[in-house]
């Protein structure tokens, strides 16, 4: 099992806060493309398989989360997890980034944005598209 019982209980408690249904899409690439991760002690890891295990395990913990999986034949930016319509995560949502996946789903399932009024006012004034990438590590 990818997630221990305590992790499952904690994630289930978070996802109990979902106020609406959330679609999660996981896109995987060719299976024979292991990556070597310094964060994993330089071991080769099949990132597609790890991502699939984690995302499937998390999504199974709430009946308000539905998961679709697409397998691509060509190399590309995989694994890619899309939460709702616009939140993406490239790579394995492992370690600390498991929190990003779980709370990303929670945020997407909120009825109202989880930001303060001042931030919402500033964002309402945006008149151009803005793309934010956040580089992270799983440890």
């Amino acid at each position: 099992m990818t997630l221990g019982e305590r992790e499952q209980d904690a994630i289930r408690a978070v996802l109990d806060g979902l106020e609406r249904e959330v679609d999660v899409k996981l896109e995987l690439g060719p299976t024979a493309t292991p990556v070597t991760l310094l964060a994993a002690g330089g071991r080769e890891i099949d990132s597609n398989a790890v991502a699939r295990d984690i995302v499937e395990a998390v999504c199974a913990l709430s009946d308000r989360v539905s998961l679709s999986i697409i397998e691509h034949d060509e190399p590309g930016p995989w694994p890619r997890t899309t939460i709702g319509t616009g939140l993406e995560y490239l790579g394995m949502p492992a370690g600390y980034e498991l929190t990003t996946l779980v709370h990303g789903i929670l945020e997407a399932g909120r009825a109202a944005p989880g930001l303060g009024d001042a931030s919402l006012e500033r964002l309402a004034a945006i008149d151009q598209d803005v793309a934010i990438d956040v580089y992270v590590t799983p440890t």
Binding site: V35, L37, L38, A39, S47, P77, I83, G84, G86, L87, E88, Y89, L90, G91, M92, E97, T100, H103, G104, E107, A108, R110, P113, G114, L115, G116, A118, S119, L120, R122, L123, A124, I126, D127, Q128, D129, V130, A131, I132, D133, V134, Y135, V136, T137, P138
Partner: protein
Amino acid sequence: MLLAYKLALASPRVTARGIEASEFAVDADRHGVQAVPAIVVDDRYAWAGAVPEAVFVERVLAAAAG
């Protein structure tokens, strides 16, 4: 990471993507990432490190305008 997601959920103009730096090391190098979390706005390195919500919003808007 969650702040970026919150911005994307709050504005249809904003998209947010988390990228695992060691799996996508070529992209991280291209953006000059040396520490995480590193924030890239409109394909340009902006800053590294966690900041409060108000600061995050202002920095993203400034980077987008710059």
